[in-house]
Symmetry: C2
Subunit: 308 residues, 2 copies
Amino acid sequence: MTDRQGEDAFLAAYDPRAFEPIAVTVDVVALTLRQGALHVLLVRRGGRPYEGAWALPGGFVQAGRESLDEAAARELAEETGLDAARGLGRVHLEQLGSYGRPDRDPRMHVVSVAYLAFAPDLPEARAGSDAAAAEWVPVEAVAPQGNPDAATARPMEQDRPAGIHGGGSGRRSGEAPGDGAGQGAGPDAGFDAGRGAGLAFDHGTILAEGLDRARAKIEYTPLAAAFLGEEFTITELRSVYEAVWGRTLHAGNFHRKVLSVPGFVESTGTTAGRGGSKGGPRARLYRAGDARLLHPALLRPDREDSVR
Amino acid sequence: MTDRQGEDAFLAAYDPRAFEPIAVTVDVVALTLRQGALHVLLVRRGGRPYEGAWALPGGFVQAGRESLDEAAARELAEETGLDAARGLGRVHLEQLGSYGRPDRDPRMHVVSVAYLAFAPDLPEARAGSDAAAAEWVPVEAVAPQGNPDAATARPMEQDRPAGIHGGGSGRRSGEAPGDGAGQGAGPDAGFDAGRGAGLAFDHGTILAEGLDRARAKIEYTPLAAAFLGEEFTITELRSVYEAVWGRTLHAGNFHRKVLSVPGFVESTGTTAGRGGSKGGPRARLYRAGDARLLHPALLRPDREDSVR
DNA sequence: GAAATAGTGTCTTTTAGACATTATCCG
DNA sequence: CGGATAATGTCTAAAAGACACTATTTC
């Protein structure tokens, strides 16, 4: 590309500390299902700032030593107590977005790269190094269902430069308007006073966007199965959708739909050990198929025309 | 949250340079339509590293002074020669994803936050401060159509920690397998030798993901109109889809479909000054409607079952 | 007038969803 | 046995897609 001699000399003379620094962190929105309800992993901060406040698990990226994905996996492992051998192998981890308002951390300019994780039911969390506690918290207790703003478009992270349109992230479909308490804070507010209030930094906003992404993602990917064990029944799979979407689904239609989408699930040929606690036949067991995208997708019900 | 006294003292004593630094940049995948073909804005690097190579426009985030969105808008404005007054107001800008492999920049650990922009046909680009040239380049010349890997799932940015699944980004639907030349480099390759080969850093990968996102996004949002002027005909809108998707669409069905989606376009009541260059009636003019999501979406044709 | 294009009509196939029905299992 | 649940069947409505057709304009 260019002369190697000059390039090497240039690199040797390069001073990485010559500019004003920005710190880079990763934060993880880790979701799981416990007793049929969606839970998110939160930590109680052991250090400043926001000491004692609840926050998403996360931490600084180790410069020169790890990628963003690696940092996110490391932070998640630290708080869940899992390693590659025990269960972490079934966790789905993907990047959610980055947040970089200069004032989002009082210490200095910190850019946070947020990740979204889907985990099967895990043992109790354990606090990592710099957290006072780690806990799976029911999502309903932190982020009441529904967020009219984030539903249609990802709010820009600050006042927009005049005239530039805000852009949505990867959302596909509308979210029914909810009864959430957070209408007051629009995209330009410094901190979302409604959803996720009480979380440190802008983690309330990050959590809300993670939930939106999760709800959208299970529509067109088979990732709902990431919340379950290796083998599962169609009814268990439906319970994932009902927990994440906060809606009950028609059992019969859901069943037929899931089986009709190629590659979504494949039969194990076996059935559950026993029927439901209140009776009923033994359900057949399935495992995740090889599809990475669902065709056709499972559309969320109740999409309203008002969501445009 | 905690005592203000101690908090202030803590902040005063905080040393932002106490850790090894990571630099943060923004890079923009700016797309436009010129003569019916999709073009991407590229710059020829004026400085090291990769001096003389083509790259995405971008630059360092100004620590403490701007957010990520602001930095992206600033970089885009510098290379397009537009400001808020002249045309930049019609540009759509959204965050694409972040890239942070420790070795992606030879100088030091640099995390890049990528943005995606949709612009109407703009005047010739002009080189910004540290670029030798800026140019709108036909996408077909840089990233041959189709990328079997990125189509189904966003490749993780490096070797995955054992057992952790790679996650897709916001894609909704499959991309037909193309005849692109880049099959050799899988998700774990250090540099995608096929698509975007020749671009500096990992910009080839970023461009490929931007294109995938753009192709998916116009399915379920009205953003295709961001490539056109204030008023446009249905045929012009169709030409956007055909250019971005690289497929011809059925004119009649497309027409009826667009008009049937609530909020996609609204009539201006006027018609184009004259018919097509080779005849035909004058087309009616429309402008973008108030929908932010399309219901139902415009599905891409030719999705194949093999894409799972 | 010939050719091309804008816009509409019609028919078929696929899919979603409401609802009903059968079979199986628990207490 | 009675109630609950798994799984399947049936019907309707909506939407996608193929194709035909009319009207309007340019050369």
